[in-house]
Structures are given as C-alpha cells and as structure tokens.
Amino acid sequence: MAAKPKIAVYWTGGCGGCDVSFLELGPALLDVLAQVEIAFWPALVDTKRSEVEAFPPRSIAATLVNGTLRTEENVEMVHLLREKSQLVVAFGACAYQGGVPGLANLSPRDQLLRRVARNGFRPAPPPGGETEDAPPELLPEAKALADEITVDYVVPGCPPMPPLIGLLFDALLSGDLPAPGHVFAHDKALCEECPRTREERRLTKVVRPHELIPDPEVCLLDQGMICLGPVTRGGCGAACPKAGMPCTGCVGPTPEAGDPGLAMISALGSLARAGEEGPGAFAAEDKLLDALVDPLGTFYKYSLPTYVRRKGGNG
C-alpha cells in the first residue's frame, strides 16, 4: 500500500475558527483523516518548526493556511511551508483576501500599537529571556497569503462552510485537481441560490440588521438591509440570508463583480430611490445613502488588503 499523502494545516493571524471549521464536516472528517497523514497542524499535533525545516522539499502533498499575514514569523512560516509543499491552499477569508484582521490596515502600525498598548509597544524578550524569545515584529500592514507566496487553490468563507471544504478534499483525495487558482465556490452570485424573492428592486431605506426583523420571504435588499449577495460568490447555500441576516461577503466577490465595494456602489446607485427621481429628490437620496454609515467596513469586511489602495504609494 502506498504511503498516505501528508497534509499540513497552519494558522497565521487568524481567530482559530478555520481550524474548528473542519469539525463541521461531521463523520466525513473521519473518512478524510483516515486517508491522510497529518505532517504538521499546530492546533492538533505537536510538531516543532525545526522538524518542519527538516522535511524534504515538496514532501507535504497539501498545506492549508488560514489567517492573515500579520507578523514577520507568519511570513517566514508560509515561505517554509511553500518550499515543503506541493500544493498550498488559502483556507478561509483571511488567507484569501486579508479577512477581518485586514481592516486594521486603515491605521498605521504604530497607531495600532499605541491603541492596543497605551504607552506604545515594542516586542521585547520576557524578563531574563534571550533576544530570540521576543515575540515577532508586526508587519507594517496585514497581507493576504498570495501577497507573499504562490497560492494554488482557495477555499473561501469565514470560516469555510462544510460543502466548500468537502469540494477541496474531494479534489485532493481523488487527484482530480482543478486548474491552478481555482476557488472552491460558485462563480455565480449568492442571489442565484437565495430562496428569497426579489420584488421591488428598489432600495427605499437603509436599515442595519439589529433594527429590523425581516420578512422571511422577501429579498433583504428590498427590505433595506445592505446584503452583499449580488456581488458575492454562492456556494454557502445562502446561509445568512436564510437566517434573516444580510450577506457580508465572506466567500469573496464573484469574478464578474471584481472589487466588491465598487460593484456594490454601482448596484446601490441604481437601486436607491427616495420618491420620484429628479433634483427634488437629491437631498432625500443623500440622506438615504448616509444611513449606510461605514461603506468601507461594510463592503470590504473580508478583503481590504486585497482591494483598497492608499495614498502615497507603498511607503
């Protein structure tokens, strides 16, 4: 019998939810685990970095990385894992497009550190410790995995949903691999699989989720919730809209939409109405759109490092 393929699961600047998401596979997880050997998975098994460094190049069949890249150590580890792996998968929204921690890129690093630790913070070794015991330096900004290394596949989601994880393992274990760059989700918009009915095709108010118990049948955009379904990939089964919550875009934008924020601005510009269109409605339309208090955080909740560029270049 041939040796089982080795897999690794690594976390960088994440919350741990991606590691937990494997459990959602239920009994199917046992089938998967029976067919692979875990070479490295800090959440589950105790393998030291020095052991990973001793692995032969490309000896791991697939490494699944979750989390945003936030520290110098994150970067070192993903380069190491890239060298040791045949395939690297960006697992979850953070590794794919920067994720929620990527929202921190709105503030410069020093400002973040001042906010978190009031008197400023510099990584330092613990009392009596060696210099190498100091925590790693923060990068100037959070990055997606593909900003550092070649990424072969993506399993999107925050965290990835069982059907999407299943698609990845089906491909890896069958050897029937899709083209490089494949994203394990639908190319079509979430609306295609959302059971809610679109009636008005108008946005006549903007409400936040806590302000409304939505009608269970009607499109959430029609009810004034800013749902990112029109620009977001399907594949999750429209889990959030089914539960009365607007889509926040965790699976990432459809290939057609591209930049999710700009695509949503385009869509909302078409949909928003405050009475009869015309100069008399301009002020009311502006007021309506002002109720969308944080366009940046709403549209780029999971993807700011990928899409938002700032003034002054990279300096």
Binding site: A146, P180, S266, G278, L289, R309, R310
Partner: protein, 154 residues
Amino acid sequence: MAEAPFEPRVVAFLCRWCAGAGADLAGTSRLHYPPNAVAIRVNCSGRVEPEWVMEAFRSGADGVLIGGCHPGDCHYVSGNYKTRRRIYLLKKLLAEIGIEPERVRLEWVSATEGAKFARVMKEFVTELKQLGPLNLEREEEKPSAAPVLPQVGS
C-alpha cells in the same frame, strides 16, 4: 534646477450628448482652459462605473471629472441620476480610505455650455494643484489585486 511645478493629471469621462458636446464647443469657441485632462467619451454618465474612477486613480490620475447632462436632460432619462448616487457613495468611501473626495467631481454641462466646461476645468485643476499629487499605490505594486492567482511553480 528647480523642480517642474506639479501638473495634475485628470481623466474626464464625458457623456456624448451633453458634456462631451460642451467640451467640443469650448474647443471650437477657442476658449482657454488647462490641458490637463484626458477626455474619454461615454454614451451616458450613467455608464461610468466606480471601478473606472478607481482605475484612473490607480493608473496615475490625480483627479477624475465626470460630465453629464443637466437633471431632466439625460438622453436616457435617468442615467445621470444613477451616476449622481454612485458618485455620492464613492466619495463617502474615498473619505474613509483617506483619499480627498474632491478628487472626484461630477458636473452637469449641457451642449451649449462650452464656457462652463472651461470654467470647471480651470477650477478643478486649480483645486487639484492645491491638493497635490495622489500617488495611489499602483496596480503592479500589489500582486494580489487581480482576482486571478499566480500559476503553480511560476
């Protein structure tokens, strides 16, 4: 040697029915206005995607002008109303990112308003000179910008 004074680069999306014709009139009337804009004629200001505005910035523009028909005059009835709402939202987004919303300017210019077009260009370029260069991160500096990921082994 003294550094050359900053000349803002402007991309102007002009609708063919009103603002584009107004710009033509400014030219045929021999009106003087700063030559900082690259004009792109579109069928309707409502065709201008927010993505195009950002692409102009990413490509080195310091300001983007969108010229459409006056309210009530849109050849397609309501394209200019859609673009007005889109630009309103886009400016809110730009402010959050830290880009001056004044770098995007929406103006209604009719086919007879060559003089207004010239005035708008003068005002806009003056304002952009005060704002200074934008220097947005360029596309090529940010490899993850494209949704297509790099090939294996490349």
